[in-house]
C-alpha cells in the first residue's frame, strides 16, 4: 500500500511537471491561445464557464458509463461463449476481428439512422468500442485455463457450469480487469466520437461548437474534462483490480523470486 501510494505521488508529480513545461514553453515562444492555449488559460476557462460545461460533462460521463456497462455485460457473455466453446471460437473470432477492423466513426451514422441523433447512438458507440478488448481478454483467460485445473474439477464429476464458475471465471479475472482499464478509456472515445457527429449534448458536442467559433481554450477545457474522467475511472478499476486479482500479482512475484 505504501509503495503504491508513493507510485501515485511520483506519477502525479511528473504529470504536473508536464503541464508546467507546457505553460513555460507557450510563454517563452509567445504561442497565441488560438493555436495552443496555456494550461492556466484552459483551467481558467474551465472554472469560469463550469456552469455551462458541467451538464455536458455529466452527459458524457453518463453515456460512457451506460455504454461501458453494456460492454461489460455483453463482452463477458460473448467472451465466455467464445472461450469455452471450440465452435463459438472458430466462428466468433473471424467475425470479431472483421468487426473490430471497422472504423467506429463509420458506424455512428448507421446508429443515427436507426435510433435518431442523441444519447442512444453515443451509448452504442461507447459499447462497441469497449466490448472488443473485454471479449478478447475474457476468452483468452478462459481458453488458457490449465487442463490440470479442469481435471481436478472433472474428477469430482463437476458440471461444465461448475468448472466455469469455480475455475474458469476466477482464472480469467486478471485478464478481465486488464481489459477493463483499456475498455473504459475506449468507451470515452466512443462517446465523444458519437457526440461530435450527432448529438446536441455532451463534451463532444461542446467541443464541436467551441471549435467552430474558434473558442480554442474551451475546446481544450473539454479535452481536459474527458481526460480527467478517463483517468478517474481508470484509477477506480485499477484499485478494484488490485483487490480482486492480488493472487495473480503475488504469484508472479513468487515465481520470479
Amino acid at each position: 500500500m505504501n509503495s503504491q501510494f508513493r507510485r501515485h505521488i511520483a506519477s502525479a508529480a511528473l504529470i504536473i511537471g508536464f503541464f508546467v513545461a507546457w505553460e513555460v514553453l507557450c510563454l517563452g515562444f509567445g504561442v497565441r491561445d488560438i493555436v495552443l492555449p496555456r494550461p492556466s488559460q484552459i483551467i481558467y476557462t474551465l472554472f469560469a464557464r463550469l456552469p455551462a460545461i458541467w451538464p455536458h460533462a455529466m452527459q458524457t460521463l453518463y453515456t460512457t458509463l451506460v455504454g461501458f456497462g453494456l460492454g461489460i455485460v455483453f463482452g463477458v457473455l460473448i467472451g465466455a461463449l467464445i472461450g469455452s466453446s471450440r465452435l463459438a471460437y472458430d466462428v466468433g473470432y473471424p467475425l470479431l476481428i472483421g468487426f473490430s477492423s471497422i472504423p467506429k466513426v463509420a458506424v455512428v451514422p448507421i446508429f443515427v439512422l436507426w435510433f435518431g441523433a442523441g444519447t442512444v447512438p453515443a451509448v452504442l458507440t461507447a459499447m462497441i468500442l469497449s466490448i472488443f478488448p473485454i471479449i478478447v481478454n475474457v476468452a483468452a483467460g478462459l481458453a488458457t485455463t490449465e487442463p490440470e485445473l479442469e481435471d481436478v474439477m472433472r474428477a469430482m464429476k463437476a458440471s461444465k457450469l461448475d468448472i466455469l464458475l469455480n475455475v474458469g471465471f476466477p482464472r480469467a479475472m486478471p485478464y478481465f480487469f486488464a481489459s477493463l482499464k483499456v475498455a473504459v478509456t475506449q468507451a470515452f472515445v466512443g462517446t465523444v466520437i458519437a457526440e461530435t457527429v450527432a448529438s446536441n449534448k455532451g463534451i463532444g458536442n461542446l467541443m464541436m461548437i467551441a471549435s467552430s467559433s474558434f473558442d480554442v481554450p474551451l475546446v481544450f477545457a473539454g479535452l481536459l474534462i474527458i481526460a480527467a474522467l478517463g483517468v478517474g475511472l481508470y484509477v477506480i478499476f485499477s484499485l478494484i483490480e488490485v483487490r480482486v486479482t492480488g493472487w495473480a500479482r503475488r504469484n508472479d512475484e513468487f515465481a520470479m523470486g
Binding site: D151, M153, R154, A155, K157, N166, P170, W247
Partner: protein, 287 residues
C-alpha cells in the same frame, strides 16, 4: 460400441457373475491416443479387478499406460474399446465419490488452503446440498482437523504460493480426501517430493487409508513406495501397455519406514524391478 442399455443395466446374463464383488473392473480395455500413423497404443486388452477397500499400486516403465488406467477409472477419458466398471456400473454413471491427487498439487492459486480443500464439498453431492444450506462452519472444522492430521495446522488461511511444494502436496491430499471418497486415485502424488517428506507422507497416507478404508489406486514409479503402501501391486509393461503381474504384498500393517530396509522388503522390490526391466517384448525399459 457400448449398447445404450449397458448404461442402465450393466449386469447382464452374459457377463461373469463375479463382477458384482469387484469395486473397479477393467474388461478388455484398449486405449489409443492420436490417429493414423502417430497413433500410440497406451493400453491393449487390459483386464484389472480391484476389490472394495483394496489399496492397489500400478508400477511399470513410463508409457505403459498407468496414468491412462487412472484417467479411465475416473472418467476423465473414455476407453477406445472395452468396458470400465465402477461399483458395478459403467464409469461416469456410478454414484461413487471419487477423490484424485495428481503429481502437481494443482491447487487453485486464488483460494486459501481452506477454500481449496473446501472445493470438493462445494461440488460433490451430498455435501453440495449441505454447503448451500450454509453448513460452512462445520465443514471448516472438519477441514482444519484433516489439515492438522497431515501436519498443516495453522496454515489454512495461507495462499498456495506462500507454501512449499511438500505442503502443497499435503493440502492436495486433503482435497482428495475431504469428501470421504469411496475411490481414491493417486497419480504419483509423492513423485516431486524429497525423500524425507515422501516417507513421512507414506505414513500419513497409510494412516488415512487404515482409518477410512477407501479403495485406492496408486500410480507410482517408486517400487519402495508401492511396497510400503499397497496391499496389491500390479506390474505393467509398455508397448503395448498391459498388466503382466499381479501380486499381494504380505507385510503386516501398520508398516514403518524401518521395515522398508528389511531383507524381505528388498527382495520384493528387487523382484518387481527385474520384472519391469525384463518385461517381454518391451522395447524400452525404465527401472
Amino acid at each position: 460400441m457400448i449398447p445404450i442399455t449397458a448404461l442402465e443395466q450393466p449386469i447382464t446374463a452374459s457377463e461373469p457373475p463375479s463382477r458384482r464383488d469387484a469395486f473397479v473392473e477393467l474388461e478388455k480395455v484398449t486405449h489409443t491416443y492420436g490417429r493414423g500413423e502417430r497413433q500410440v497404443h497406451a493400453l491393449t486388452e487390459t483386464d484389472l479387478r480391484i476389490e472394495q477397500g483394496d489399496f492397489v499400486a500400478l508400477v511399470g516403465p513410463s508409457g505403459c499406460g498407468k496414468s491412462t488406467i487412472l484417467k479411465l477409472v475416473t472418467g476423465l477419458i473414455n476407453a477406445s474399446s472395452g468396458y470400465v466398471y465402477v461399483a458395478g456400473r459403467q464409469v461416469g454413471a456410478e454414484p461413487v465419490r471419487v477423490g484424485m491427487a495428481f503429481q502437481n498439487p494443482t491447487l487453485l492459486p486464488w483460494l486459501t488452503l481452506l477454500d481449496n480443500v473446501m472445493l470438493p464439498l462445494k461440488i460433490v453431492p451430498p455435501y453440495r446440498q449441505e454447503y448451500r444450506a450454509k453448513r460452512k462452519g462445520e465443514f471448516r472444522d472438519r477441514i482444519e482437523t484433516l489439515l492438522a492430521q497431515v501436519g498443516l495446522a495453522g496454515f489454512s488461511n495461507k495462499f498456495p504460493w506462500q507454501l512449499s511444494g511438500g505442503m502443497l502436496q499435503r493440502a492436495s491430499l486433503c482435497r482428495a480426501l475431504i469428501h470421504e471418497p469411496q475411490l481414491l486415485m493417486l497419480d504419483e502424488p509423492f513423485g516431486a517430493l524429497d525423500q524425507f517428506t515422501r516417507e513421512e507422507l507414506w505414513g500419513v497416507m497409510q494412516d488415512l487409508w487404515m482409518t477410512r478404508k477407501p479403495t485406492v489406486l496408486l500410480v507410482t514409479h517408486d517400487l519402495k513406495e508401492a511396497a510400503f503402501l499397497a496391499t496389491r501391486i500390479c506390474v505393467m509393461a509398455a508397448r503395448p501397455g498391459r498388466v503382466i503381474d499381479d501380486s499381494v504384498v504380505p507385510f503386516p500393517r501398520p508398516r514403518t519406514v524401518e521395515m522398508s530396509y528389511d531383507p524381505n522388503f528388498t527382495v520384493l522390490t528387487q523382484r518387481l524391478r527385474q520384472m519391469i526391466m525384463h518385461a517381454p517384448s518391451a522395447k524400452e525399459s525404465v527401472p
